[in-house]
Symmetry: C2
Subunit: 332 residues, 2 copies
């Protein structure tokens, strides 16, 4: 066994072992996809492409919420509920500000102690490949690998404070927003627009003294959701009060997601949305690659910085500056 871990397996070994659900090889394949070495990326791409026919069968759930909302606890309880239904689940944590190296998933294992010991669960933070400047691609590839390994529910966890939500929204089928029932301004700290992306809201810690506040918050959120126009899917988001402590609202949350999946599979949105997400991936990746090429050109980057200063000082028209950069870049 030790040899397999330290020496890189070949393409066919990867392919068959990932398909069998070998978690060590799955983790290694994700690491490959996250690598910045061209050889690693080429192997990862070849592997994932060959596994494409075995992907897409899961439900992909994005879960977000501000720090302190109880995300880990919710996911642990929610995940245990799913594994108790004999569902194989993978939890991928997306943290754009994270400096974690690929190996140190200990933090997450500690955060979700019970779930990490569960034979039906696979927990893994996704590292960001800095050169490409985006969390999305690596996570997309991790999702596909997990699906090929037989995971039926993929949870993408993200911190609800930055720009990562829009990205994650475009990776998943269902976007769940965790909210705290607080006094006063309920949306404090939630970035504008996040609530409008939600397919469901779970109010966490709705137990003990908090129960009454949570019920009030539920009514408030329901009213606010009602103000938004209908989403593309045609689905009306539900608000659920939950408690990881009292195991309340957990089964209800899952049942709401199942209802959503049935609804969008029937009206055709499910497939349409997935195809759309793949096309966005394609075009986004082209943009990222061009950006990457631009960034690798040190001289051009210095010129961009100089132009930025001149633009700030109103010395040059931004479109003129852009034209000069692109002419240089394409060596015209």
């Amino acid at each position: 066994m030790k040899n397999i871990v330290s020496k890189r397996p070949d393409f066919l070994t990867f392919k068959s072992e990932v398909r069998k659900g070998n978690l060590t090889l799955l983790a290694q394949a994700i690491t490959l996809a996250e690598s910045s070495l061209p050889d690693d990326i080429a192997l990862a791409n070849q592997l994932i492409e060959s596994l494409l026919p075995f992907t897409g069968k899961s439900i992909r759930i994005g879960i977000t919420g501000v720090p302190g909302v109880g995300k880990s606890t919710f996911i642990e309880t929610f995940g245990k509920h799913l594994t108790s239904l004999s569902k194989k689940i993978a939890v991928l944590a997306v943290d754009p500000s994270s400096t974690k190296t690929k190996g140190s998933i200990l933090g997450d294992k500690t955060r979700m102690e019970e779930l990490s010991k569960d034979a039906f669960a696979f927990i893994r933070p996704t590292a960001t490949r800095a050169a490409l400047g985006g969390v999305a691609d690596r996570t997309r590839e991790a999702i596909l690998l997990c699906e090929a390994a037989g995971f039926e529910i993929i949870i993408i966890e993200t911190v609800g404070v930055g720009q990562s939500e829009t990205t994650v929204r475009n990776l998943v089928d269902f976007f769940l927003l965790l909210m705290l029932a607080g006094a006063g301004d309920e949306l404090q700290g939630i970035k504008k627009g996040i609530m409008e992306m939600a397919d469901g809201i779970a109010i966490t810690k709705a137990d003990g003294d908090n129960t009454k506040k949570a019920t009030q918050a539920k009514a408030d959120f329901e009213y606010a959701l009602h103000l938004f126009s209908e989403s593309d899917s045609g689905w009306k988001p539900k608000v659920i009060t939950s408690s990881a402590l009292e195991k309340k609202g957990i089964a209800e949350t899952w049942s709401s997601i199942e209802q959503y999946a049935a609804f969008v599979k029937t009206n055709g949105y499910f497939e349409k949305n997935r195809t759309q997400q793949n096309l966005v991936w394609f075009h986004e990746h082209m943009r990222q690659l061009l950006q990457q090429k631009l960034n690798q050109d040190v001289e051009l980057n210095n010129k961009i910085k100089t132009f930025e200063k001149e633009i700030t000082n109103k010395k040059i028209l931004p479109s003129n500056a852009a034209q000069q950069i692109i002419q240089d870049f394409l060596k015209e």
Copy 2:
């Protein structure tokens, strides 16, 4: 006079006449900026860059709302109020779906009959330069030209149903959302997220039988706004009931915009935001130029279309497809 209109003036004539507020030459300069001919664009860019020191002194106001909300009537009444205060105002209409040619501003002149005859007002739709695929650049340049011509208030009008709002939000200092007081779902037809971009909301047609509904809608919107987190400017948007018919809420709307301007000039957001908008323009324009170059390559475009089909049929990994396109594009 006829000669000036039919023969293209030179750079220096353009520069001095625009500075003097010559509306014929201003309109011609905007047309130049909207042209797709490289010579025209070069002259427009040279002109606008030379005029940069005379730009930036206006307040730029974006006004949006769904069709039927009474945008033209509101802008006409609002505009007349401003000119009655001896303010020089320019109205630029952005309509991404418009097929108007550069000359046919008759439509807009008819829409705002009184304002179009006002010596203090300049009304002009901005055509889109299709090749660049965006309304933003041309409008940015039109704003700068109008400012150089001495206009103190620039109104950018846009239809509140598409994607143009985010674009327009990034061109202006203040974003005003016009809303109708209706029965039931007040935000019907308003695209998600637009309300969160607003620095102010004016409820239109708040007169006669509508007055009571408008007052109720005001309370509803105020509640909804309260749910959103604080905007980057630190400003709390106000909701005003207005009637163009009864000239109600018009002066109040202007006074709210003046308060906003004083507020953000004091806290530094005004300048910070404008610089940020210029840097966005720079980077957006680079992306657009690259996209334009890509689009001009017929062979590459056919390849992109083929890949899109293969992606839809799950035959190829989107990131692999992207890599092949970019390699071809950069001839590596």
